[in-house]
């Protein structure tokens, strides 16, 4: 019955589509918004791809040609045009000859609403579910009617849940007192932000005492559940900050921890890794999703080679003279920064996130863990394990440990200590490069990016215990979590200061950090 009604209405409104379409090319945003609403109201199946193209930024206008409104997709020569109504191909043009229709937020909201109204009865349950969620954001009497109608026919359980919720949220705003009371009951314990939003608005405006009391009870229940979510979220934030600290510090744990070299250019080695990611992305356009897998070994090699070069040309002459090393490596850090500034650009460069690292993993409606942080957490652990295996299980690792424990004895046993020094430093530098790849996904890539991490890295290594990889892992994670738990009440600036004060006090008590190296080696 309803379906029949809709098709009848659709054919009757066929002329309305052609009538509303030119409005999209209007320069004024309100006129465009009206056109969008008119298009959505036609219910015409041809309206949906047009609205979707507009939202995606594929709809262009052109002058002195018919039709003035065209659909454009990138092609070799620039853009390939087609008629949005008929789909007829209109040939290729240069980018400058057509103008993209600009959007604003009000228009985007109207578009999402319009698309949702048109896709509410889509055959794909995921699309229906998204449509219901979009309609929940800004409920209007028409959308409530549509939602109710859909709910009557809906078979899919997941979509039904969303629909029930959407109807309840809408009822809170526009329903009768009985409907509002029922809606409050439905929303009790729901973690959707829209549910909480709706309830707070209701409490502020409600005149009916019963409804108000029920809403307040529901809100308290929601808040109690949200508190636990917030704690889990903070823990995740802390671990993720910790993983960044560990990644930044773990290369330093090799160069400073094992070799005892104060390398102020460590941050710049990370910066080189991040720039390698950028260059790899530039060299492989269109492969953003996979470029990271090339960038990780490339960054390791680039930063590693720079590290070996630094060790061979500067640091090897300065072993046992920490102050000179500090100054020399600081100089190197400035040289590397200026090198990047002059060869690439003083501007930050754009490193794109692969699509699988954007967005978040929805645990429940109120708790979402962002993918980029999750992957970087896993990646930090992976790098840690790999480094541990290299040091404990390989010949190089054995030699590194031998040289760091007793250089003279190792040399007497036939270890080429100079070569081992260079390789160890290269390994630490290479790991810094790999950390740079991870950082390029989180923060800006620019010539100065390394400086932000050098202090943190030293802090983690000193706190965890010089010369101990486990110390670096535990130290980094502890500092990350402590920082994030303090941040809500202390603020970002004060939290950082408090952590620093804590470490200074801690070092007074335990000068060798969390996991001091024991035995004779520690005194050497």
């Amino acid at each position: 019955m309803i379906l029949a009604g809709m098709t009848w209405w659709g054919t009757a409104a066929a002329g309305a589509l052609e009538e509303a379409l030119p409005g999209l090319a209007d320069r004024a945003f309100p006129a465009k918004q009206q056109a969008v609403q008119a298009l959505a109201a036609t219910g015409d199946s041809r309206a949906l791809p047009i609205l979707e193209a507009l939202l995606a930024g594929d709809l262009y206008t052109r002058e002195a040609a018919d039709p003035p409104l065209v659909l454009a997709r990138p092609s070799a020569a620039g853009l390939r045009l087609s008629d949005p109504l008929t789909g007829v191909d209109l040939g290729e043009v240069e980018r400058a000859t057509v103008k993209k229709i600009p959007l604003n937020n009000a228009l985007r909201t109207a578009l999402r609403g319009g698309i949702a109204a048109l896709t509410l009865s889509s055959p794909d349950p995921a699309v229906r579910s998204r449509a219901a969620k979009d309609l929940m954001r800004d409920p209007s009497p028409e959308s409530v009617t549509a939602l109710r109608a859909r709910l009557e026919q809906e078979q899919d359980a997941a979509v039904r849940t969303t629909l029930v919720l959407a109807v309840a949220v809408a009822d809170l705003r526009v329903g009768t007192p009985e409907a509002r009371l029922a809606a409050v009951a439905t929303l009790e314990g729901s973690l959707y932000p829209e549910a909480r939003n709706g309830l707070t608005t209701l409490i502020a405006n409600e005149t009916d005492a019963d409804v108000k009391a029920a809403a307040e009870r529901a809100l308290t229940a929601i808040d109690a559940r949200l508190t636990w979510n917030a704690r889990a979220e903070t823990l995740f934030f802390g671990l993720s900050l910790g993983s960044v600290l560990v990644l930044a510090a773990i290369g330093l744990a090799i160069t400073f921890g094992v070799m005892g070299v104060i390398n102020m250019a460590h941050g710049e080695l990370m910066m080189l890794g991040a720039y390698t990611t950028y260059l790899v992305q530039q060299a492989l356009p269109g492969w953003v999703d996979y470029s990271l897998f090339v960038a990780i070994p490339a960054a390791f090699i680039v930063s590693g080679l720079f590290g070996i070069a630094i060790e061979r040309t500067v640091i090897r002459f300065l072993y046992g003279r920490p102050l000179e090393t500090l100054l020399a490596t600081f100089g190197i850090s400035l040289i590397l920064q200026q090198l990047v500034r002059t060869t690439i650009s003083a501007q930050n460069v754009a490193v794109e996130n692969p699509s699988w690292m954007s967005g978040s993993l929805q645990i429940n409606p109120a708790l979402a863990l962002t993918y980029n942080r999750l992957y970087i957490l896993a990646f930090a652990l992976l790098v840690f394990v790999a480094l541990l295996l290299i040091l404990k299980r390989t010949a190089l690792g054995l030699q590194v440990r031998a040289v760091s424990q007793n250089r003279a004895m190792a040399r007497a046993m036939g270890v080429r200590s100079a070569r081992v020094d260079a390789l160890t430093f290269g390994l630490g530098a290479g790991i810094a490069g790999v950390a740079g790849v991870a950082l390029s996904q989180l923060t800006n890539v620019g010539p100065n990016m390394g400086q932000a991490y050098i202090i943190d890295s030293f802090m983690v290594v000193v706190f965890g215990g010089v010369g101990n990889l486990w110390g670096t892992l535990i130290g980094g994670m502890t500092l990350g979590v402590a920082n994030k738990f303090m941040e809500p009440w202390a603020g970002a600036v004060l939290a950082k200061i408090l952590v620093l004060v804590f470490i200074i006090l801690f070092i007074q008590k335990r000068p060798r950090g969390l996991f001091p190296q024991r035995g004779r080696a520690a005194d050497g």
């Binding site: 600009p102 937020n105 707070t200 502020a204 934030f237 930050n348 980029n372 603020g491 970002a492 600036v493």
Partner: protein
């Protein structure tokens, strides 16, 4: 031995010759007018300031093509204060005392401006400062061609309040003088408009902050109170990128919680992946996307000068262009580059800006500017969604702070004072700075 001596002498000799040849043009340069360029070309601020150096060089070149100024050629003297605030003061002194420049175009951060201010006042130099700033200052020797708070922050808040119906406010900024003063003004303004204290959240982060997880989670929570929420961001420069990324990753879209930024322009966007930023707002007095013949000509000129058609133009560049035009006009009117004559001549002069209006130098050394709100598009440009009718005169002393309500700057006779108290009719002088 002899051979080595000879080489030494040769080297010395050629060195001397080189030195002489370097001195010669300088002595012959008396018939040029020197213009100082005081922008960081290295260090943190190089990102933003290098472009401004190029802009001034372009304007100087353009003026020379037109025949120079007062029959003399202009000559740009470029120094690099390297993002180091005390070095700004040293370089400013060098420019005025040693190079004897007629005017200086420079500075970006407020702290660099505060650092050079005493030098300009002591040596009676001229500084054209092109960046939006926190106000609360008016010096005889400085021309503020960027926006004062009433030309950027206040209209942006008005737009959010009236057009988007925002009821709850997050004031997020980097922890230094510009955001702190601006937020103080905004907080006073919002409270005056009847916004309750619990509907305002203020947050400061360190320079270059990159871990925005908990702050974005807080903003999300703050926005979940059933009232339309917006973020007014005075977050500086590149710390914005991870901030917007985190907003995108945590699913906060511009339709839910729009962010209006005062420090994000085309130049900053050109270095980043703009997908997560689409729909967020920025308030400026100029956008590259503004469709006027003046702007098209300026963009064309810039691309020809920089030899790269992909480079963008931005608000501080327009400010330098306006400042330069006004200075040229003032020098022509005064018939001299002497500081006092230029200061006297420049007030009241007008020049067209790039958005189809007129920029006029006011007695408080600020200029009139239109205010535009733009939404970030996926190509890194802004689509203008709102703009003031006509231009807004820059107000040096905010009307919303108790200490500066009654103050005004007026560098014309008979007042001649940067902080004149209109109630007590006295000039506070340098004591109030």
């Amino acid at each position: 031995m002899r051979k080595r001596d000879l080489i030494k002498r040769l080297v010395l000799g050629s060195g001397l010759a080189l030195g002489l040849s370097a001195v010669l043009p300088a002595t012959a340069a008396d018939d040029t007018i020197k213009v100082g360029v005081l922008h960081s070309l290295s260090g943190t601020m190089a990102i933003s300031e290098t472009t401004l150096k190029d802009t001034v060089l372009m304007l100087v070149e353009e003026q020379n093509k037109k025949g120079g100024l007062l029959g003399k050629k202009l000559e740009a003297v470029v120094v690099d204060p390297a993002s180091n605030w005390p070095l700004f003061a040293e370089k400013a002194r060098e420019l005025i005392a040693k190079d004897k420049v007629a005017a200086v175009f420079g500075c970006w951060t407020s702290v660099s401006r505060k650092s050079v201010l005493p030098v300009f006042e002591e040596l009676n130099g001229l500084l054209f400062y092109p960046v939006q700033y926190e106000g609360e200052e008016s010096s005889k020797n400085v021309f503020y061609t960027g926006a004062a708070p009433n030309q950027q922050a206040i209209p942006a808040v008005d737009y959010l309040m009236n057009d988007l119906g925002v009821k709850r406010w997050v004031l997020a900024g980097t922890d230094y003088v510009y955001p702190r003063t601006t937020n103080k003004i905004l907080e006073a303004y919002l409270k005056q408009k009847g916004v309750a204290a619990e509907d305002i959240m203020i947050n400061y982060t360190p320079f270059g902050h990159s871990d925005w997880q908990s702050i974005v989670a807080d903003i999300k929570k703050f926005g979940g109170a059933g009232k339309k929420t917006a973020v007014v961001s005075t977050i500086n420069g590149d710390a914005n990128v991870p901030f917007y990324k985190e907003l995108g990753n945590q699913g906060v879209s511009a339709e839910d919680i729009p962010v209006v930024a005062f420090s994000v322009g085309e130049e900053e966007l050109s270095g980043i992946d703009t997908k997560p930023l689409v729909g967020h707002l920025a308030a400026w007095n100029y956008f590259m996307s503004v469709d006027t013949p003046e702007n098209a000509a300026f963009i064309k000129q810039w691309h020809a000068f920089i030899k790269d058609p992909k480079r963008v133009t931005n608000d501080p560049m327009e400010a330098h262009k306006i400042g330069f035009d006004l200075w040229v006009k003032a020098v022509e009117k005064a018939g001299s580059t002497a500081t006092d004559k230029v200061v006297k001549a420049i007030v009241g002069l007008e020049t067209p800006n790039l958005t189809g209006g007129i920029a006029k130098m006011l007695p408080n050394h600020h200029i009139t500017k239109p205010v535009l709100i733009g939404e970030i598009q996926d190509d890194g440009q802004f689509a203008v969604v709102w703009q003031t009718e006509g231009t807004v005169p820059g107000d040096a002393w905010s009307d919303f702070l108790p200490g500066s309500k009654d103050l005004e700057g007026d560098w014309t006779a008979p007042i001649n004072c940067g902080n004149y108290n209109t109630k007590t009719k006295t000039c506070l002088g340098s004591a109030a700075k």
